[in-house]
């Protein structure tokens, strides 16, 4: 059987759950590799993927015998089929954080379910630590991301808008191996950079601007996440001070991360550095990522997060001075036994686009 489903089934049994309806398409992709619309049923006897006529052919040609997943077109199912699936299950799990109330009631009306139990987070817990193939996909996404940043440094000219630059970054990634963006690309220039979640505007790049980038792409569904700033022509003393602080925090945090670490203490210390300088913390220091761009756990001192080998994380300290500017530096990293590896590898020294380069 597919090893991810086997592992989930063992965890279910440990909780006395012998059936599950998996509805969240990201969890279905994680467990099966399938991207078709449908529902995965783990019954006491079988793994069943219910889909429709648009997908059934592609699904059947994708599934191998080793997966031990049988696919049905819902047009071919009777009321009795639905009622039989969980007939012998004492407890059937569902994803209460994904399934709507309407769908919840529909499941209860469609299947014969003795005891419907909330299992949201169970599959997500398995997704914390990645296998080799997942890490390989993330590495590919990170490589495209680094190349896109190299490319855009050459592309930028004063007079271009944030939107134009963001679209060019996206075009580069999508035509160089990415299957999608990890999220909407952030290109925030001048004072716009002080908003952590800025949306690209029609503001034109000017001499002396700071430009904040935050972007990433997906390869086989797996995300990269990356932030850098560029300075146009020059950097002010205040910007240099903030840049140095953010880079120091990045180095402080990332140098500590390794298998087995409880991050609480390290992050508390990082928070103290912020207080000492009088900077506000507007967001966490990072997050897990994979098929979703934001996965649990989050790097924040309020959580009792313990790192494990083969977690994929972002480290992304930032400082934001409203009305002035903001600076965030971020890499996607891989936790290993004795430390961590950067999967995005672009340099982090101050990068000033010279006049001769941009005119």
């Amino acid at each position: 059987m597919n090893p991810k489903i086997r592992s989930l089934r063992n965890q279910m049994l440990a909780k006395g759950i012998n059936g599950m309806i998996v509805s969240n398409p990201v969890n279905i992709r994680y467990l099966t590799g399938l991207t078709a619309e449908g529902t995965l049923l783990l019954t006491s006897k079988e793994n069943i993927f219910l889909t429709d006529s648009r997908y059934i052919e592609a699904v059947n040609s994708y599934l191998t015998i080793d997966q031990e997943i049988v696919a049905f077109d819902v047009r071919d199912l009777s009321t009795a089929d639905y009622e039989s699936y969980f007939n012998d299950c004492e407890n059937v799990g569902f994803e209460e954080g994904y399934v709507t109330y309407e769908k919840y009631k529909k499941y209860l009306a469609t299947y014969r379910i003795n005891n419907f139990v909330e299992t949201d987070g169970l599959i997500e817990l398995n997704r914390f630590v990645k296998d080799e193939e997942e890490i390989e996909n993330c590495k590919k996404a990170c490589l495209i991301t680094d190349k896109a940043f190299d490319y855009i440094k050459e592309y930028i000219k004063p007079g271009q808008t944030e939107k134009e630059i963001a679209l060019e970054l996206e075009r580069y990634m999508k035509t160089n191996g990415a299957d999608d963006l990890s999220f909407e690309t952030i290109v925030a220039s001048g004072p716009n950079s002080s908003m952590p979640h800025a949306v690209p505007t029609d503001r034109k790049i000017e001499e002396k601007d700071i430009i904040q980038f935050d972007f990433g792409c997906k390869v086989n569904g797996y995300c990269s996440d990356f932030s850098r700033v560029l300075f146009v022509g020059e950097i002010t003393d205040e910007q240099k001070r903030v840049y140095d602080f953010v880079l120091k925090e990045y180095d402080f945090i990332s140098s500590k991360l390794r298998d087995g670490l409880c991050v609480k203490e390290v992050l508390k210390e990082a928070e103290e550095h912020y207080s000492e300088e009088g900077y506000l913390l507007l967001h966490s220091f990072g997050h897990n990522l994979g098929l979703d761009i934001h996965e649990e756990p989050v790097l924040a001192s309020r959580y009792e997060t313990k790192l494990k080998k083969n977690m994929l994380l972002t480290v992304e300290p930032g400082v934001y001075l409203p009305g002035k500017f903001g600076i965030r530096i971020e890499d996607t990293i891989l936790i290993n036994k004795d430390g961590s590896n950067n999967l995005t590898k672009s340099g982090k020294a101050v990068c000033i686009l010279k006049k001769t380069e941009i005119y």
Copy 2:
């Protein structure tokens, strides 16, 4: 009070519902114009928008006194505040098709709710018919869409991939007034055109190709939706036959649409035309659109849909010959008293890109 909320409140009262939790961000945008994350509470006394520190300032500067909506940062609310909102409501509505089971339970635990009733579809029903401002936004989106199609006809060169052309279309729309895409752009060439929901691939455009386009954009949240085909260098007799059939069906359906029409009979007749030619119907003939690209009602003979003045609809007949090609022609149209108006206005005569144009 905001007229859309006033109208909803009247409908609620007619059903004995004196409170509602509106969670779906599209419904919140429709009712209030707000795009910030948050929840809209219609209590017996007030309209309340609960948001957080990221949005509260922008929300307060957007809301006018006429709207009669008061906004709160959730950090400033106590348990007692939450418990007071619906204390005097007999029935409180919620959107069971949007709210997850987890959220449903959280609402019950947070608010003091006597009777929690399902009201999904109530706001959506109001969204069927558009007001002047909504129509104006859709018209702007349609104009950008037409211009994008004109632009791309000049842009296309053999050797470009479907992906490249799709990205260029998207770039054009986003840098010419669109705030977003209505959906992922479809550019499907050669045999790929036989799949109604094709995703752009790395297939390169060749001489004698047919290219199916299906795309649209948003202005102030309101969608356009548009499909045309282009022929590269030449059109075959079979393609011409199918094209003429699809265009005739488009004209047949769109010529009948007007305020008050029950579409069932017209669509049944259109279906008969398909049977007579031996063509399969792979999707409906169209759908309502607005803040969502697919809104109710759908143009299919199985529904008892009655048209109303100021509905925005797509009309999009298509024929798909697997392994060969597909042809779909689609406009966004506005229903009026005596007929309908095309809001996308690109010509529908066969368009062959000449060799001299593309080399």
